[in-house]
Amino acid sequence: MTLIKNLDTPTLKTLYLSDLEKGQTAIMTGFDTSKCPDQNFAKDLKERLMEMGFEENRRIEVFEKGLFFGDPIAVRIGHMTIAMRKADARAVTIKLGASCLHES
């Protein structure tokens, strides 16, 4: 698995689902909707993501990316494949690491 560059650096920068390359797998750590343009949208997005199975400690794979600017992305989580916009993927925080290969 290719690791994203600044992972080795000690500064712990938050990683987002939108940072993943095609084919990469990560473990979801939570939501961060602080970058969303408005609060209603943020709440709606978070709820819908949860309803579709986005949950802490689940394994997420970015399966495919669109042709233009890598948008939208197709994400595999459990037995579902979900199409979403990269901007919305910025609300999902993740961590990398081979130690977390097991789905909780």
């Binding site: 579709m52 399966f63 669109g66």
Partner: protein, 636 residues
């Protein structure tokens, strides 16, 4: 009411078996609710492999083995009771007993996709708080088995405190457990209805999710694996470059096939009608009856029915795309394009369905959460060339475009047809873009769409879908097209041509007078008065115009010309600019009452319906005029 008294109880049981014990199918999108509904009630609701197929509530009757009747209700899928779109809202209203016309169901069949209970159990828990009797149906058992997913149903039943059964909606034998519940358990469910303890209601979704996770962890014996074929196919079909190339090739292939595969069956139908006309000529005297049958009925209806093979081929393609699961992939691939005009991939599905017919397309826009996006999608849906335009397009293409090969493989006719479709799409995007700039913005809605696992299309569903469509087409041919042609024929009888005039009678008849009266409006477009006449009934439905042209030209023709098909007549009497202008007109003109009525119902606004009608007519007129002028100029 005292429900503990045995007498009351019995009475209630009786009433439950004779009238309205109502069972609602509730569950996430695409988990197989409509498939179960069809199998149990013998209905023919649309079933396809993408989320958001059902957008209305439908009811049907299930006959139990004791011949009593249970009302089943099929509902749109929903992810949670926190509805966002109109289709989800209908489901929520019915479940909560808030729906205007549908009373609250007595029992909920909570349908879960067995391969995804980890996520879908959350909805089950949420529904459970509603205090309605509920049975959990783990559908798609066959797929769970294939993917090596194992669920301990007893454990699940114990943890949920609900009855749990497994089904396979697509196999006859896969419904036994569900039939068993409906046949035997309904009365006891009715009895215990009021004894369900009040559940502590869940405060938020995170809590529900935690609980669902715990139950799933206990009940899932084996997680199984993701469908390998879907993974492999998606590597190709979702590929950023390859996927787009395949999508476009598919579209081109579709339009090529509509032409190349239909020619033989079309010839057969045409010959059949020619024989019929000859037969009628042989057995009837040369009087009004023969003219009514030949010119009024056969020329009119025959010239439309000939296009049945093309429509069947087009629908076969669309039905296959829908039932394999490709539709959602196409939406993924098109999201960026849709995004450039302010819509999202979600809107692509209603638009693609509009190629079959704009009405289900407009209905399907209900699945779009954003009101603005939904409105825009409804407004542009009529620009997607529906199958009713097929007869007009092909008729003119056949008459004016040579049967030529282009770059070896492509047929020029197919390419022109594709160009007509593309023009509609391009204008739809432009209109969407302009509307996006002008309609006030509301809170954006996220674009999240499940891509279902691929499935082999079920032959039965495809054939049923085709049959429904064919029936609708034939019914129209037999009613509105036949009716208008007979009416035209009658109006064309009087007054007759004056003595010594060499014109056919029709030119002097009421029809001729009317046609010539409105022709000045269409003069700049190059339309002849015959076309103007055909456009009048053609306002009701597009293909009616073809039938009307059939009758008008049949009445104009001499006896020896009658044998000529409409195609030949048109190629002889229309100029090239007229033909192209007519095609341009047809790309835009909103000639379909049913579509306008649906738009009115779905937008609930006369203003928007008026806007749609106006802008489409304006585009039709301007583009037909432009095409007429330019073509005239080019050919000199």
């Amino acid at each position: 009411m005292n429900h503990n008294s045995p007498i009351n109880h019995n009475e209630e049981l009786k009433s439950s078996s004779s009238n309205g014990f109502k069972v609602a199918l509730v569950g996430a999108p695409n988990c197989g609710k409509s498939s179960l509904f069809n199998a149990l009630t013998g209905s023919r609701q649309k079933v396809a492999n993408y989320p958001g197929v059902t957008v209305e509530r439908r009811s049907g009757i299930y006959k139990t083995e004791h011949d009593s009747e249970i009302t089943l209700i099929d509902l749109p899928g929903l992810y949670s009771m926190n509805d966002r779109s109109l289709d989800e809202k209908i489901s929520r209203q019915v479940i909560m007993g808030e729906h205007e016309t549908e009373s609250r169901p007595d029992l909920i069949l909570c349908v879960l996709d067995s391969t995804n209970i980890r996520v879908q159990l959350r909805l089950a828990l949420e529904l459970k708080t509603l205090r309605l009797p509920m049975v959990i149906v783990l559908n798609m058992a066959d797929i769970a088995k294939r993917d090596k997913i194992e669920i301990d149903t007893q454990k699940l039943a114990l943890d949920l405190g609900l009855k749990v059964i497994t089904t396979t909606a697509v196999r006859r034998s896969g419904l036994a457990s569900l039939r068993d519940v409906l046949d035997h358990d309904v009365s006891s469910i009715k009895a215990e209805k009021l004894n369900i303890p009040q559940k502590t209601s869940f405060k938020d979704i995170a809590e529900l999710q935690k609980c669902a996770k715990k139950i799933a962890a206990c009940a899932i014996i084996s997680e199984g694996h993701y469908h390998k074929a879907t993974k492999a196919i998606d590597k190709i079909l979702l590929h950023p470059v390859l996927g787009l190339v395949i999508f476009l090739s598919l579209m081109v292939f579709m339009f090529q096939s509509v032409f190349s595969w239909s020619s033989v069956p079309m010839d057969i139908i045409e010959k059949g009608f020619a024989l019929l006309a000859q037969g009628i000529t042989a057995i009837t005297p040369d009087n009004w009856l023969r003219s009514l049958l030949n010119d009024g009925m056969i020329a009119g209806v025959g010239s439309v029915l000939i296009f049945l093979p093309q429509i069947v081929i087009l629908f076969t393609f669309i039905l296959i795309l829908e039932s394999t699961g490709y539709m959602a992939r196409a939406a993924f691939l098109m999201d960026k394009l849709m995004g450039s005009v302010g819509l999202n991939g979600r809107a692509f599905i209603p638009l693609l369905s509009s190629f079959a017919c704009a009405i289900p397309g407009i209905m399907a826009a209900r699945t779009i959460a954003s009101n603005r996006d939904r409105l825009i999608t409804i407004m542009i849906a009529p620009l997607m060339a529906c199958s009713a335009r097929m007869p007009v397009y092909t008729l003119l293409i056949a008459a004016f475009i040579p049967d030529q090969e282009v770059w070896g493989y492509f047929n020029l006719k197919g390419l022109v047809l594709l160009a007509l479709f593309l023009t509609g799409i391009v204008f739809a995007l432009i209109v969407a873009f302009i509307m996006k700039l002008t309609i006030s913005k509301e809170t954006a809605k996220p674009f999240l769409m499940e891509l279902p696992k691929y499935q082999l299309p079920l032959l039965k569903n495809i054939l049923l879908g085709l049959w429904e469509r064919t029936k609708a087409f034939l019914r129209r041919a037999g009613t509105i097209i036949l009716g208008t042609n007979v009416a035209l024929w009658v109006l064309a009888l009087y007054p007759t041509a004056p003595e010594g005039s060499s014109d056919p009678d029709i030119n002097h008849s009421i029809i001729g007078i009317m046609g010539k009266a409105i022709q000045p409006i269409f003069e700049p477009l190059g339309f002849t008065w015959e076309i103007c006449i055909a456009l009048i009934p053609g306002m009701a439905a597009r293909e009616v115009a073809v039938g009307a042209l059939g009758t008008v030209y049949a009445l104009q023709g001499d006896e020896d010309q009658v044998a000529n098909s409409l195609e030949v007549m048109i190629s002889q009497s229309w100029s090239l600019p007229t033909a192209f202008a007519f095609l341009a007109w047809y790309i835009f003109a909103p000639q379909c009452f049913a579509t306008l009525a649906t738009a009115r119902r779905e937008t609930n606004s006369w203003a928007w319906t008026g806007f749609m009608t106006f802008y489409l007519f304006a585009l039709a007129y301007l583009s037909a005029w432009g095409v007429n002028v330019v073509t005239t100029h080019i050919i000199g």
